[in-house]
């Protein structure tokens, strides 16, 4: 493989040192975390790799309030295996990660690198459904909602994701489903739903559909229906139909827009029914 245009490899020992290497925004300088993107798709202008293995941590820590902080160099395997994630909101994170890429990729991909790449992801819709924040370093640390990170100008310039934060959430349940051609394949679409509150009326809901568009779209009308109607059969059916109609999809070689939309409706319904039956069981 010809990556001969890359001639410099730096290993900063701290976030500050890493920042100094990238702050100019020179497109020839790229951050390297897991490596799974740059090894196979290294743009010709890239000459310098900044390996942040020693600059950014990889620990996973829990807070008293049920929050979880995941440092950006944690591999997806580390996230999937951590006990705190297994008991966080129905263990939806490890449940989703079981389907992501296979162990060879999970052992290498870092959560920070994955979020920085920000496309065709099973992880992002789940993090969005869990109201995740990220801390981003640009000379100083700034914490913002993951959803805002993707909308912000921050993303276009040089920055270092250092931590992913999952806030403590009220008791409830979440469910993730994806649809792909084969078992080891990128998602055609995926869906994550979260319901707070264990009673008949949810105190809050999230309905996210991802993979098309590329990150994860909130189905606001679906959420509104659920907030109003709870998790009754009818409410679930209506919410699923709303999600199907409101989330924009595109046709591509792997599936048409019409089929993707149809799948969104099916998966939202299935996620919600699964949550409903879990909550009924208490």
């Amino acid at each position: 493989m010809s990556r001969n245009h890359v001639h410099t490899y730096r290993r900063p020992a701290s976030q500050a040192e890493a920042w100094r290497l990238i702050e100019s925004g020179d497109p020839a300088v790229r951050l390297l975390s897991g490596g799974t993107d740059l090894t196979i798709a290294c743009p010709p202008e890239v000459t310098t790799l900044v390996d942040v293995r020693h600059a950014v941590g990889s620990t996973i820590r829990t807070g008293e309030d049920g929050s979880i902080d995941i440092e950006a160099m944690a591999t997806l395997t580390a996230v999937a295996e951590h006990p705190a994630l297994r008991s966080h909101v129905s263990g939806v994170m490890p449940d989703m990660l079981r389907h992501v890429g296979g162990p060879l990729l999970r052992n290498l991909c870092t959560i920070g690198g994955h979020l920085a790449r920000g496309k065709l992801s099973d992880v992002i819709p789940v993090l969005l459904a869990l109201d995740a924040d990220v801390t981003v370093y640009t000379g100083g640390a700034e914490r913002l909602a993951l959803a805002d990170y993707y909308e912000s100008d921050l993303r276009a310039g040089p920055h270092l994701i250092t931590t992913v934060h999952l806030p403590g959430l009220p008791a409830g349940s979440a469910s993730f489903l994806r649809f792909s051609r084969t078992a080891f394949d990128f998602p055609i679409i995926n869906v994550c739903c979260r319901v707070d509150g264990i009673g008949p009326e949810p105190t809050d809901v999230r309905v996210l559909a991802g993979a098309t568009p590329l990150r994860g779209t909130r189905a606001n009308r679906a959420e509104a229906i659920l907030r109003g109607g709870g998790l009754s059969d009818q409410s679930i059916s209506e919410a699923a139909a709303a999600a199907r109609d409101e989330v924009p999809t595109r046709s591509g070689w792997v599936a048409s827009a019409e089929y993707r939309s149809h799948l969104i409706g099916v998966l939202v319904e299935r996620c919600l029914r699964r949550i409903a039956s879990r909550l009924e069981r208490g």
Partner: protein, 158 residues
């Protein structure tokens, strides 16, 4: 640039280009059991153990492997003639046809058994998701790994 890799227990210092992958480097160093099936992270024939975890070495830069413990198939098992239980089980079960997927598959299976000593058939299949084989249909390979896991439990192999 110079990097020091610890391959199969021995430190190896070598010159690499900054853009070289671990796969490129290992093959150049003569560890030809590590195969280049796609150079795209899709097929698993390049899998090696890094600090005990199976990774696709075509997706790692050589620099990322500095000072990390790397195991290739050449380094698996005991010294001398004896085969590792995974190797023996695959031979016995008929899980080897052309053999090209085998090094990566064995190392992935070694990772599995280390971290999940009692894998179910379903866990084995899941774990092998990223190791493609076009010859066998995986049937005898999964059987072999089940058998090897049992043997390793019995003998408490290192």
């Amino acid at each position: 640039m110079k990097v020091t890799l610890i391959v199969n227990g021995s430190p190896v210092e070598t010159d690499v280009n900054a853009g070289d992958t671990l796969l490129d480097t290992l093959r150049r160093l003569g560890f030809t059991s590590v195969k280049d099936g796609c150079a795209n992270g899709d097929c698993g024939t390049c899998a090696v153990l890094v600090d005990g975890r199976a990774v696709t070495s075509c997706l790692m830069f050589a620099g990322q492997a500095e000072d990390r413990t790397i195991t290739t198939l050449e380094g698996l098992g005991r010294a001398g003639e004896a085969l590792h239980p995974l190797q023996q089980a695959l031979l016995d079960a008929g899980g080897v046809q052309c053999g090209y997927c085998i090094p990566g598959m064995i190392l992935t299976a070694a990772d599995l058994i280390t971290h999940h000593p009692n894998p179910t058939r379903s866990e084995i299949e899941s774990y092998l998701a990223g190791n493609l084989c076009r010859c066998t249909g995986y049937v005898k390979q999964v059987e072999a790994i089940e058998r090897a896991a049992e043997v390793l439990q019995e003998t408490d192999h290192g």
